[in-house]
Amino acid sequence: MANGLSGQAAIVGIGATEFSKNSGRSEMQLAVECVTQALADAGIDPSEVDGISTFTMDNNPEIEVFREIGGKELKMFSRVHYGGGAACATVQQAAMAVASGVCEVVVCYRAMNERSEYRFGSGMQNTPAESDYETTHYGWYIPHGLVTPASWVAMSAQRYLYDTGATTEDFGRIAVAARQFAATNPNAWFYEKPITLEDHQNSRWIAEPLRLLDCCQESDGGVAIVVTSAERAKKLNKEPVIIKGAAQGACDDPQMMTAYYRKDISRLSEVNLVAKQLYKQAGMTPDNIDAAVIYDHFTPFVMTQLEEFGFADKGKAKDFIRSGQIEMGGRLPINMHGGQLGEAYVHGMNGISEAVRQVRGEAVNQVDKVENMLVSAGTGVPTSGLILGKG
């Protein structure tokens, strides 16, 4: 074992609500629905939950979820910051709590009415006079009109195109591939709705060089993940999905969405830091990874991530994508659930579920002989990642 964390804990249950544009119920209800479903999937009684991890951006307090599922003793509750960058880190928190013996059963969740109650895509507007740090931070951008996540990512994406010679058609190929998988996933919002590269190129500009079809959806929905020890996992319902690597990363003049001040803004150095840790923990190289869930809030950063995780050389993701390597039958099929472009935007948590299904062999778009899956989290922000695999 290359690392004290690797192999100690396993994902044993996944649960999700339907994904929609209007759930018709509160975020709290979505949270308890997906959490209890994940525990049922694991075959663990909700009263056994003794650890919880979620996002700072989640509006459902850990103790309330815990109270409603009939929890008895909660020994660890943590929240991870930086939007979707938190996704895999919630599982890392769980794995660390289990590996250290602090907890036995940890639930990670994210539940949101991000489409029907508020929309990240509608933009930041006015801010108070004496502002907290993050409001002050966005003050460098919003008076000039960069008010949305798409606009913040677009700045890095434009430079990436300039530095690498990639084109917006390469962004489009990522969207087309995601929608192709979504088209055959009945749980995807865009089930049976594939797109063509032409559709992508004809879709309207949002924040040039990003078009509408480069942007993930805005969704209502909840997803939960149950983690326990690898030992206990052997005795449960489903085939254990072992957490072989779990890492967070921030480095190189980090910023929330706007790391514009580092020397090279076409890179995602924090993803590289996560990659190094994951491979070291798991004792692996990219060659050991059969398929991946690559966080796709916006298509350009999928390209950068493929490079930082070592599947393509710097600036060469375009060649990897053009030759079909991210599609079924390619070197590294990605986002077989349709990703956040095609399935739903649940801040990356639905991608972790997909990785679990792939390792278990129960995915709708199942990749052959999956031993190890890589999962990434929100990028353009401090981020996290996982390597999940068979025991």
Binding site: Q125, T136, G139, I142, P143, L146, M155, S203, W205, Y261
Partner: protein, 335 residues
């Protein structure tokens, strides 16, 4: 967003909306054919005891010879399920097809109320009928001042057809999309500009600022673009911070930038189309100043399609409104 009186802006919005009129969307299929259990639930919930809905024996003697669905159930058959999904076979509006309600949302008309709903029935529906509907925008009013705020009335026309594609009913559903009046911000209570009859221009989003950054904004008001400097190691930095990441000193002052720089990257901002910005799309650059720091700033004096990485630019301190001055950048003509 607060200002909906700007005429050219309205024209642009109205032109966008006009394109959505008459575009037929559908069919939206039914999850179930017309059936007795759903009819019974409806009649019971409505406390409607008409035997034509629930008593097959009585209904046998009527023109249809069988029970009928309450006509007002028309809209119920093709509704989405609780999961908000339409029945299989439904052809929904493509995600990138412009839709008037989204367009209004994007222009700040985020409020919505249903106004009225008229249904017309061409024949009674009987169990086994398989209903679909099509929807189109029939009309959009002129801009109206209402008690809720300035807005537009939008009329949707729903056409219901049976399994033979014959029209069985129509529904006109009218709603008001409006711009909720903002609570008067503190600064706006000053009588100065407001007493003027001229339409008030929408303001740019206010920057958050605090004790660490206020000097920068104050500098702009005095016409200076400032860069923070560590007085221990002399390193320049932007955005400003209390501690120098190079030497961890808290000692700092600021130097005035020459305003000369080059475009390191840029975005042409299309959506959301904020009324405060004259240009649409709005070009915004990441400028690398000759002193070495970078900052994000709007571009002026250039068409969005002409913006290029590497283009030399010069800062122009611009008073955008009473309270806000910004450093915008203009291309330097190359000699």
């Amino acid at each position: 967003m607060s200002d909906q009186n700007n005429n050219s802006e309205n024209k642009e919005l109205e032109a966008l909306m006009a394109e959505t009129i008459g575009v037929k969307i559908g069919p939206h299929k039914s999850w179930d054919p017309v059936n007795q259990p759903m009819i019974r639930h409806w009649a019971e919930a409505m406390d409607d005891k008409n035997p034509r809905y629930t008593d097959p024996e009585f209904a046998a003697g009527t023109e249809e010879g069988s029970i009928i669905a309450p006509p007002t159930m028309l809209q119920a058959w093709t509704m989405r399920g609780a999961s908000w999904k339409h029945a299989p076979g439904t052809k929904e509006r493509a995600a990138d097809q412009p839709y008037v309600l989204d367009i209004l949302d994007d222009h700040g008309y985020i409020g919505v109320v249903a106004v009225n709903c008229d249904q017309e029935y061409f024949r009674n529906l009987v169990p086994g009928d398989d209903i679909s509907h099509y929807m189109e925008i029939e009309g959009i009013s002129e801009q109206k001042q209402t008690g809720l705020g300035v807005g537009y009335f939008v009329t949707e026309l729903w056409t219901f057809v049976d399994q033979n594609d014959e029209k069985v009913g129509e529904m006109r559903f009218r709603l008001l999309k409006f711009c909720p009046p903002k609570e008067a911000p503190k600064a706006a209570s000053k009588p100065a500009v407001e007493s003027d009859d001229k339409p008030k221009k929408a303001l740019r989003p206010r920057p958050g600022m605090n004790k660490d950054t206020r000097f920068f904004w104050e500098g702009l008001k005095e016409g200076k673009l400032l860069i923070q400097r560590c007085t221990s190691c002399q390193t320049l930095r932007h955005p400003p911070t209390p501690m120098c990441p190079s030497c961890r000193s808290l000692e700092r002052d600021a130097v005035e930038a020459s305003g000369k720089g080059v475009i390191h990257s840029y975005v042409n901002m299309h959506h959301p189309d904020l009324p405060a910005f004259d240009a649409s799309p709005n070009p915004v650059a990441l400028v690398e100043l000759e002193e070495g720091t970078r900052l994000v700033a709007g571009l002026i004096g250039i068409e969005p399609e002409d913006v290029r990485i590497g283009l030399p630019v010069q800062a122009e301190i611009t008073q955008c409104d009473d309270e806000l001055a910004l450093a915008l950048f203009r291309p330097v003509s190359e000699k």
